[in-house]
Every structure is written in C-alpha cells, then in structure tokens.
C-alpha cells in the first residue's frame, strides 16, 4: 500500500490530535497508472464538491468511465459499510480529508 504524501498534515487540534488530510490508500489492486489517476481524480472531485458527495461521485465515475471503460461504480461518504463484487485489478478504496472514504470499483 504505497502512500503518496500529497498534502501536509493538517493543523493540530486540542492536545496531541493531529488530523492528517492527505489521500491514503486503504485497499487497492489497481495498476500503478490507474491508481494514481483514480487518486488524483477523487482528490480533485472531493475538493471541488466538498458539500455534495453525489456530484463528487458522479464526476469521478464519469471520468473513470471515459478513461478506463464503462461500468465503474463510485461511493463517496463518511460512514457506511459495503460488500461488493468487483472485477479484479479495478478496485481502489481510499481515505481522504481525514473523514471521507471513497470506494471505486468496476463491475459490468
């Protein structure tokens, strides 16, 4: 699980709590190129649509569909559980912004 320190750590809150907001891959078996693409895309989308998860997810899904083929599914949220079936080498589950989790997978 390679990390890419795109952003510096967030400011420290009370006491020792330091919130890190950099994108962090939790589980992924995508190829390197697809993974970086997905990460950058989701970071952009989440920053652009910080209020609206649906729009962010839509943006990510449409971009991924265009680039890597149809039938991508994207979930953006802060608190959910999931169980999915995905085509191998096409899943990316990552955290971003300290409290958001984005799950991208392909299954036609």
């Amino acid at each position: 699980m390679a990390e890419e320190g795109a952003a510096a750590t967030g400011g420290a809150t009370a006491g020792e709590k330091v919130i890190h907001t950099y994108p962090l891959i939790r589980h992924s078996d995508m190829s390197e190129e697809m993974r970086t693409e997905a990460m950058e895309l989701s970071v952009t989308a989440c920053e652009k649509f910080s209020q609206n998860n649906e729009l962010a997810a839509r943006m990510v899904k449409e971009s991924m569909d265009k680039k890597f083929g149809p039938a991508f599914h994207v979930v953006v949220g802060e608190s959910y559980g999931f169980e999915i079936t995905y085509e191998c080498t096409t899943i990316c589950y990552m955290y971003f912004g300290g409290n958001q989790a984005i799950c991208i997978w392909k299954c036609s």
Binding site: E3, H27, S79, G81, F82, I84, E87, C88, I91, Y95
Partner: protein
C-alpha cells in the same frame, strides 16, 4: 504450198495477195453465205438503235408444275420478293407478335411486360414520336415475315432452298430496316397502328421508367439452360468469452476507523524517515533520544561513577600518600650543600596496561589543570611497528589509571593540547593522519575530527603538531609537519578538517631523476615545528638533515632564513619563555644548541653524549632548560649558574632497556614529566637548586619576577656576545606588518 522463188527481193503490200503465207494480213473479203437474204443497200445503211431494259426475258411470270396429288398442273406460288433473285437466305427465329404462336406464348406468360432487374436505370430520354415508331416497327416486322415463313414452312413440305426465296432475313434491325420496311409494309402497316395506339400513353410519359419487354422465345429455337456454382452450406457458430475475474470486498467506513488508520500510517512514515537518515546521525540522535528509563539509568550511573572516582582517589591517596606529600611539600635539603647542583626526585610512574610495549612519543602538561598531562603512545621503532596507538590523559591524583584514554588505529607520534579549550587535543599519527580528540566526550566515541585519509593526509609520519591562532572566520586551526616535507595548516570546520599546505620544504639536494626519467625535486623531511610566541606568522622548522628554517605563513616558497643547525634530525626547537629571540634546539647529533634569532652561530652549544630526544626551557626561569637523552638521563642546565656544564644529570630510567623520549615542565609546579620507550611516564620533582628564582635588587623591590628573569637573561647574553647590532631577522622584515 511450195515456196516460190523470191527472185524479186522487195515485196510490197500490193503484192501480198500473191503471198499465201501472210494470210492474216490480207484484207478479208466479205464472204457471203449462199442462203443469205438479199437485202437492198438502202436497208443496210439504216441505223438500228439498241436499248437496255430491266425486263428479264427469262423470267417466268407464272410457273406451273404438275401436282401429283391433285393430278393437274398447279400454279406455283409467286415469290414474295418478286423478280429479285435471292443471293443469301438465313432462317430467323423471330415470330410476329400478333401471330397465333405469339399469342399462344403470351397467354402462357412468356412475353409479359416486366421490369428489368436493373430497375430505374432503363429510364429513357424523351424521344420524338417518329423515332418511337421507327423503333417499334422493326420489332413487329421481323415477327410478321417470320410468321409468314413459318406458315409457309409448315405448308410447304419439300425443301427447295434455292427455290424458297420467301425466307425472311435475319432479324437484325439495322440490316433489315430498309428491306423489311419495303417487304413487310403490308404486315407492318397492320401492326403499326396497333402499336401507335399502345404507344401513345407511353410517349407522353417518357421520363418515367420504360419497362423492357421480354422477347418471346419459343421452345424449339430457345432453350433455357442454367447452372449454379456450388455454394458451401452455411453454419452458425457462437461462443462466449470468459468474463474478467471478479472478487468480493467489503469494509466499513467510519470516522474512528479512518482516524486510526491515518495514525498508523503516519507512525509508519515517521519510522521510515528515521531509517533513511545516515547512520552516524542516527547514532548521535539515538544517543540523545533516550527514554525516561534510560535517562534515569544514566543519571544513576553518573552518580555511581562520581562516587567511584572519589573512592578511587581516596584509595590512591592513601597508597601514594607520602609521594603526594613529597610532591607538594618536600624540598631536598641537601641542595644547600651541593653548590648549585640539583637533583630530581622521582615521584610516580604512570603506565597504561594495553600500551606497555608502546613508546611514549609525547608528553604535555595540560595548560589548565596542573595535575593533568597528556601522553601519546606510539612507536618510534621503525623495524617493529605497533598496530595501534593511544592517547591518554593522566592525573597525578590517580596514578593507577588514566582519566581518559582512547585507542587509535595507528600509533600517535605527537600531540598538542589547545590552550583555549583544554579538552581539545590534536594528534598526529604514524599513518599521516591528524585527528582532534575531545576529552569531554565519552570514551566510547572516537575522534571528533579526522583528516580525510584519501585526500588530505600527510604521506609520511606526522612529527609535530601545534595549535595555531584562530582563523579569520574564527575557526580553530593547527599546523602539522611531517616527513613528506609539507607543513599543513588544518582548519577545524564543522564536521571536517580542511587542509591547506603552507609550505613545502625544499632541500638543497639537486633534483634527482625519478623512475620515469623526469627530475624530481627532493623534499626535505620536517621533524619539528615551533611558532614564535608573539608573531603568529613566524615559525621555525627543523628538518631531518639538521637544517633550521625560519618560515612565514605569508611565504610559501622560500624560507625567511635557513641555518644549518645540526648534522642529524632536529628533534625539538623551543623558544625561551622570557626572550622571544632566544631558542633552543636539540638533535640526534648529541647536541643542544641555544640560538639567537638572526645569528648563524649558536650562542651556546652543549654536547650530551647521546642523541637528545627533547629540550625544554623552564617556565619559571629564563636561563634554565632541561634535556633528555637516549641513555635515560635528564640534563638540567642553568646558564646563569654554569654556562658550560649541567647543574643536574640524573638517570631516570636504566640505560640498557629504555630511552627517554620526551620531557615537559609543569607550568606551575616544579615538576617534570618524561616519557620513555617502554610506555612509562615518570614524574620527577626538581630540587630547589634547579629552580632558583631571582631576587629583586634592593633598589627596586617591586619588580616582578618576569622582568627580573628577562634582565637576568639579557645580562647573561651580553656577557656572551655583543649586543645585537642588527635587529633580528624577525623584527627587521616584518616591522611594518
């Protein structure tokens, strides 16, 4: 005919009648038959005209033939083409459209008006009615004559080809147009009006698609034959690819889980960063980074160590109590009776266990602590080199064990303690490297600074090393001289030592050819260096061939002054503490010489009987100096008392086994330390006669000891030589600096 005799030569035509041979030339006479009619002449003159006509006189108008079936003469049918005589007859296959045969075929569905498969391509351009008619007419016309021919064929059984000139010609439109119009006018006219009626609607809509009329083909002349290539049978095959593999994955996403994961990841990253740092920094950092437990342990250990030191000192003091008392308080009372001669009282011997076989290459008292002195363990025996060396700091309070010791990779030949920060000691090594040790650091650490073994080190033994003045930027610097003939100044930079070659000692030996034929200049080997006490630029260098050079930091090529001082390597040059132009030198040629700056000849010269290892001026007196020799003796001279003989000669070590290598005066106490070749440092005390102080003259009681000493020396010198008529070299040249 019997040839006549031609007596008469020339024959004329008139005579031809007579010649029977030329009958053909004779004019013919008209022969009349006998039964020819008599015609009057007038009728013979009558002109008769002749005319060509088309009347064929042989043509038979009506031919008659006997019909055996009927039994009578029957009129043969008239030929359709009249009086013409057929030259070529071809039987065609077209039939008239309106004949019964044609009608029968149409009824059967053959001659249906159908569209061509080519479709609208057959749209025809608008044509005039006349053209239409013309085109139409030839079509039915061949049908008509063909019909007639057929009918006639059926009727007439016999086949008389030459006599059947009624056959119709080929249905080729172009050829037949002319004749057929003439011949079949009868039939054509019947059909034409019919056609016209049917054509009218067509003529009007010319632009539309004109259907092509299929030609009628009877079964006798035409047969249809078709063939079809074999088409392979078709088959359907379908398959489905294996879909890409799928897998399941499930997880929960909660704030707490996200936070925990981030923390873990951050910790891991920090750890990775730690691992990347270079090893040494990490070691240092690791030293500093201590857990609370470690700090506590260390503090405890520190206190224990302190307690032990005190205990050790106590024990030592108890053991060496009398020596310690002597060291401080005992003065040899027999000196009063000895008339100026003195003695040395041996006090302690300092040894370091691992260095038992090493020689003491340098001893030096610490400028700050009067009981501390540094010892450099190395090896001066070139046949049996030691593998390592040691730097030790001994304290008189603890004669059993050094306060500080560090073992080095190669023997240490020289050392110098920095006046400003007495814990910094620079050492010169046998392998040419120089190091700086920090006595404050814990013993585990190695040198604080070391010269780069590849680039910057000396290529020969470093014989002497001296701290110098601070550089412009405030860095400490020291100078080293070595057997490769270079004097190098080292600047103590953070983290490294920076070397600058000050001067390369040239020798007076002419260049010798090297291994590749080029001439190499020979460097002389330097063996000692000493700085002028006041002028930091000036220093004296002694070489292994006995030359003493005065050099300046400003000049890196030439010497300021050179003196051939000795015949053997100069082991020590030492300036007098009270007079900056007086210095002493000792060498392996058994001599100690006292020089004055500017003179080529020494002021004093003493021969000691064996190679002199070291000579030092006493810090308390301007006229006392001590020297140690290879036969284990220490010589002390006081020039004020005796200009020619030492006031003390004492064997400190036995001559047979050990030699004395170095000697040093303690700055505050009348104590001397000398080192020998077996790793032992001896501390001896000077008896009172050796440390005679000046008494101030009665007139000026308040004059301090130093001026008194200077005066004493000046007085002495003036006895020895004329007052300097010229200022010393040092003063002369650099006055304007």
């Amino acid at each position: 005919m019997a040839p006549k005799k031609q007596k008469e030569g020339n024959k004329s035509r008139a005579n031809l009648a007579e010649d029977e041979a030329l009958d053909w030339l004779k004019p013919r006479t008209l022969l009349k038959p006998d039964d020819q009619e008599e015609v009057p002449e007038a009728d013979l003159e009558e002109e008769v005209g002749r005319v060509l006509t088309t009347i064929n006189p042989q043509w038979v108008a009506d031919e008659v033939a006997y019909h055996y079936g009927q039994g009578r003469f029957v009129l043969k049918p008239k030929p359709t083409f009249g009086k013409a005589y057929p030259l070529y007859i071809y039987q065609g296959t077209a039939i008239r459209k309106d004949s019964e045969e044609a009608k029968a075929q149409i009824a059967a569905g053959y001659g249906m008006v159908g569209f061509d498969d080519a479709g609208p391509k057959r749209a025809k351009v608008k044509k005039s009615a006349a053209e239409e008619e013309e085109e139409e007419e030839p079509e039915p016309e061949p049908a008509a004559p063909a019909e007639e021919a057929k009918a006639e064929e059926d009727a007439v059984q016999e086949e008389e080809k030459p006599a059947a000139p009624e056959e119709v010609e080929a249905p080729v439109d172009e050829a037949a147009v002319g004749e057929e119009t003439a011949v079949a006018e009868e039939g054509g006219e019947e059909a034409a009006p019919e056609e016209k009626a049917g054509e009218e609607p067509l003529i009007e809509e010319v632009i539309t698609i004109k259907p092509r009329v299929k030609k009628l083909a009877n079964q006798f002349n035409f047969c249809e034959r078709a063939a079809l290539t074999y088409n392979n049978p078709r088959r359907s095959v379908d398959t489905q690819t294996i879909p890409p593999p799928r897998a399941n994955y499930g997880s929960t996403c909660l704030q707490s889980i996200i936070f925990d994961f981030y923390q873990e990841d951050y910790a891991r990253k920090m750890k990775e960063k730690e691992d990347e740092k270079p090893k040494r920094l990490r070691k240092k950092a690791a030293k500093h980074a201590k857990s609370a437990q470690q700090i506590h342990d260390e503090q405890l250990a520190q206190r224990i160590r302190e307690a032990w030191t005190i205990l050790e000192r106590l024990v030592n003091q108890n053991i060496y109590d009398d020596i310690a008392q002597d060291y401080r308080y005992w003065d040899d009372p027999s000196d009063e009776f000895r008339e100026g001669m003195g003695s040395l009282l041996p006090l302690w011997k300092f040894q370091f266990e691992p260095m038992r076989s090493h020689a003491v290459c340098e001893v030096q008292w610490n400028p700050h602590y009067q009981d501390l002195f540094a010892v450099a363990y190395g090896s001066l025996d070139f046949t049996q080199q030691q593998k390592n060396g040691c730097l030790c700091l001994f304290s008189i309070k603890n004669p059993a064990y050094p306060e500080y010791s560090v073992i080095t990779e190669s023997p240490i030949i020289c050392l110098d303690v920095y006046h400003e920060t007495p814990y910094l000691i620079c050492v010169g090594r046998y392998d040419g490297n120089v190091c700086v040790y920090n006595a404050q650091l814990t013993l585990e650490s190695s040198y604080q600074y070391k010269s780069d073994s590849v680039r910057d080190k000396h290529s020969n033994i470093v014989w002497e090393i001296r701290w110098g003045a601070r550089l412009i930027d405030g860095e400490a610097s020291f100078f080293s001289i070595s057997g490769d003939g270079r004097v190098v100044q080292w600047a103590v930079m953070p983290g490294e030592l920076q070397a600058t070659t000050i001067i390369t000692l040239q020798s007076s030996v002419p260049p010798i050819p090297g291994p590749d034929g080029t001439l190499l200049t020979v460097n002389s080997c330097g063996s000692c260096i000493c700085f002028h006490p006041e002028k930091a630029d000036i220093f004296m260098v002694g070489t292994e061939d006995g030359m003493i050079h005065t050099c300046s930091l400003k000049y890196n090529r030439n010497y300021v002054r050179s003196v051939q001082g000795h015949h053997m390597p100069v082991y020590r040059i030492h300036y007098n503490y009270f007079n900056n132009s007086i210095y002493a030198s000792c060498s392996g040629d058994w001599r100690v010489k006292i020089w004055e700056d500017g003179r080529d000849e020494p002021l004093f010269m003493f021969e000691l009987g064996s190679p002199v290892g070291d000579v030092k001026w006493a810090p308390y007196s301007s006229t006392v100096f001590a020297a140690c020799t290879a036969d284990g003796k220490v010589y002390v001279y006081d020039l004020n008392v005796n200009k020619y003989r030492p006031i003390c000669v004492q064997a400190v070590v036995s001559k047979k086994t050990k030699k004395l290598t170095r000697i040093d005066f303690n700055a505050r106490l009348p104590v001397l330390v000398c080192g020998d070749t077996k790793g032992t440092s001896h501390v001896v005390k000077l008896s009172p006669n050796l440390r005679v102080m000046c008494k101030p003259p009665k007139k000026a009681q308040g004059v301090d000891q130093r001026t008194l000493q200077i005066m004493k020396l000046d007085k002495l010198l003036s006895l020895v030589r004329d007052p300097p008529f010229q200022t010393g070299v040092v003063d002369e040249k650099f006055d304007d600096d």
